[in-house]
Amino acid sequence: MNTVDARGLSCPQPVLDTLSAIAEQLAGSIEILVDTQASRENVCRAAQSKGWAVASDTEENDEYRIVITKD
C-alpha cells in the first residue's frame, strides 16, 4: 500500500500530496498520515470528491492514519 506522510505539513500540502498519490493509482488503497484535525478533514473531503472511500480513520498519539480505497 502506498503511504503519503503529510505529518507536519501545512495547508494545502496534505491534500496536494493525497491527490497526486490518487493520480498515480487508479484503484486500491492508499494510507495517509496527518497530524491535525484540519488536515484529516481536508484529506477525507478531497479523497471522497475523487470517488475514493475512507476505509479507516484512526487516531493514535495525536496523529491520524487515514486509509482510502477505491475498487
Binding site: L9, P12, Q37
Partner: protein, 360 residues
C-alpha cells in the same frame, strides 16, 4: 465526533454569522466597511503600542485578541490544540511583513475586501481580483513543489505564547482604557480622530472576536483558501463560506443603511485601481505561500501553530514598517514609497516561491 462546522452547511453558517456581525460592529462604532479587518486591526494594535506613530490608527483592537483566545478555547475543547513549530518560521515572518504591506497599499485584508464590496465600495473589486491573481501565482508554486517544510511537535509552551501575548494585550487594554480626549493612557496610544478613534464598545468587540475565533477555528474558515482551493483542486467548500459572508454583509448593510455604491468617497479607501489591485496581488501571494489568510493565521496561532504565530508577528512588524516608511495608503492615495515596497515584496515572494522546495 463529527465536526459539524467543517461541513458545507457548517462553513456557510460561519460565513453568515461573520457577515452579520461585521456590519453590526460598524453600526456600533467600528470604521466604515471595517467591521472586521485583520490587517487594519493588527496595524491599529501596532500603533497602540507605539511601534508606529501614525496618530489616526492607534487602538488595541479587542477583536484580534478575541480571535486568538476564542480559537484557543475551541481547540482545547475539541482536543485540537496541537503545539507545533519549525516550518521555516523566518520565511513566514517575511511573508507576514509583506502581506501587511500589500494589504495596507490596498487598505484592507481579504476580509475587509469582502466587507468593502458588501458596503458598495467598488474599488474593492480591484482588490479582490488582485487577491485572486496573487493566490493564483501561489498555486503555480505549489504545483511546482513549493514547500516551507515540516513543522514538528513542540511543548505546549510554544502553542501558548501567542494566546499569552494576546492575554497580556487584554490586560493592558483593561489597565489603560481610553480616556476621552486623551491621546494616550499609560503605555497605550489612542487615536483622537480617524479610523483608530472609531470602535465598537470594548466588551462587544471582544465578545464578537471570541465567538468568531471559536467558530472559525472549528470550521477552518479561510478567505485565501476559498480561492486557492477552487484554483488548485476545483473545490468550492471554503468558497461557500466566503460567499455566505458577502451575501449576509450586503443584506445587513442594506438593512442598516450602510450600503453606498460607488468609487469615490468610500470610507478608508482610495481610488487608484492599479494599486488596489497590485497591493492585493502581493498580499494574496504572501497568504497563499504561508498557507492561510490573516484571519486563519490568527486562528492557527490560537490552536498551537507557532509558525502561524510568527506570521502574525510579521504582519504587526510589517504594519510598523508600512507607516514609518510611508508605504501605507490613505484615502488620498498610495504612500510615497508604496509602489517600491510592492515591487520589492513581489520580487521577494518570487524568490521564496522558486527556492523553497520539498527536500527529496
Amino acid at each position: 465526533m463529527k465536526n459539524f462546522l467543517a461541513t458545507r452547511s457548517g462553513i456557510v453558517i460561519v460565513g453568515l454569522v461573520i457577515g452579520i456581525l461585521a456590519p453590526l460592529l460598524q453600526y456600533m462604532g467600528n470604521p466604515g466597511n471595517m467591521g472586521i479587518c485583520v490587517a487594519c486591526f493588527e496595524r491599529d494594535i501596532a500603533g497602540a503600542i507605539g511601534m508606529h506613530r501614525a496618530g489616526v490608527v492607534q487602538y488595541l483592537r479587542p477583536e484580534i485578541i478575541g480571535f486568538v483566545l476564542g480559537a484557543m478555547v475551541a481547540a482545547f475543547m475539541s482536543r485540537d490544540f496541537r503545539p507545533r513549530v519549525g516550518s521555516a518560521p523566518i520565511v513566514r515572518f517575511v511573508l507576514g511583513v509583506f502581506a501587511m504591506i500589500g494589504a495596507l497599499v490596498f487598505l484592507g485584508c481579504p476580509w475587509r475586501a469582502l466587507l468593502r464590496l458588501a458596503g458598495g465600495d467598488l474599488n474593492a473589486v480591484f482588490g479582490i481580483v488582485g487577491l485572486v491573481a496573487g493566490v493564483w501565482i501561489g498555486t503555480f508554486f505549489f504545483r511546482k513543489g513549493y514547500s516551507l517544510g515540516r513543522a514538528t511537535k513542540a511543548p505546549a509552551t510554544v502553542g501558548l505564547i501567542m494566546p499569552a501575548i494576546m492575554l497580556g494585550a487584554l490586560v493592558l487594554l483593561l489597565l489603560f482604557p481610553q480616556i476621552s480626549g486623551q491621546p494616550s493612557n499609560g503605555v497605550l496610544f489612542y487615536s483622537l480622530k480617524g479610523p483608530g478613534a472609531m470602535h465598537a464598545p470594548v466588551f462587544i468587540a471582544l465578545g464578537v472576536g471570541l465567538l468568531v475565533g471559536i467558530i472559525a477555528q472549528r470550521s477552518r474558515f479561510c478567505t485565501m483558501g476559498a480561492f486557492r482551493d477552487v484554483i488548485l483542486f476545483g473545490q468550492t467548500h471554503l468558497l461557500s463560506g466566503v460567499a455566505a459572508l458577502l451575501v449576509a454583509a450586503v443584506v445587513v448593510n442594506l438593512l442598516l443603511g450602510q450600503f453606498h455604491a460607488g468609487f469615490a468617497g468610500q470610507p478608508v479607501a482610495h481610488t487608484q485601481g492599479v494599486w488596489n489591485f497590485m497591493g492585493m496581488v502581493l498580499a494574496g501571494l504572501c497568504f497563499a505561500l504561508a498557507g492561510g489568510c490573516p484571519g486563519r493565521q490568527l486562528f492557527l496561532s490560537g490552536e498551537g501553530d507557532g509558525d502561524a504565530a510568527v506570521f502574525v508577528l510579521g504582519m504587526i512588524v510589517g504594519a510598523a514598517f508600512a507607516h514609518n516608511f510611508g508605504l501605507a495608503s490613505s484615502p488620498k492615495g498610495i504612500g510615497p514609497h508604496g509602489m517600491a515596497a510592492v515591487i520589492i515584496g513581489l520580487i521577494v515572494c518570487l524568490i521564496i516561491g522558486f527556492t523553497m522546495r520539498k527536500k527529496a
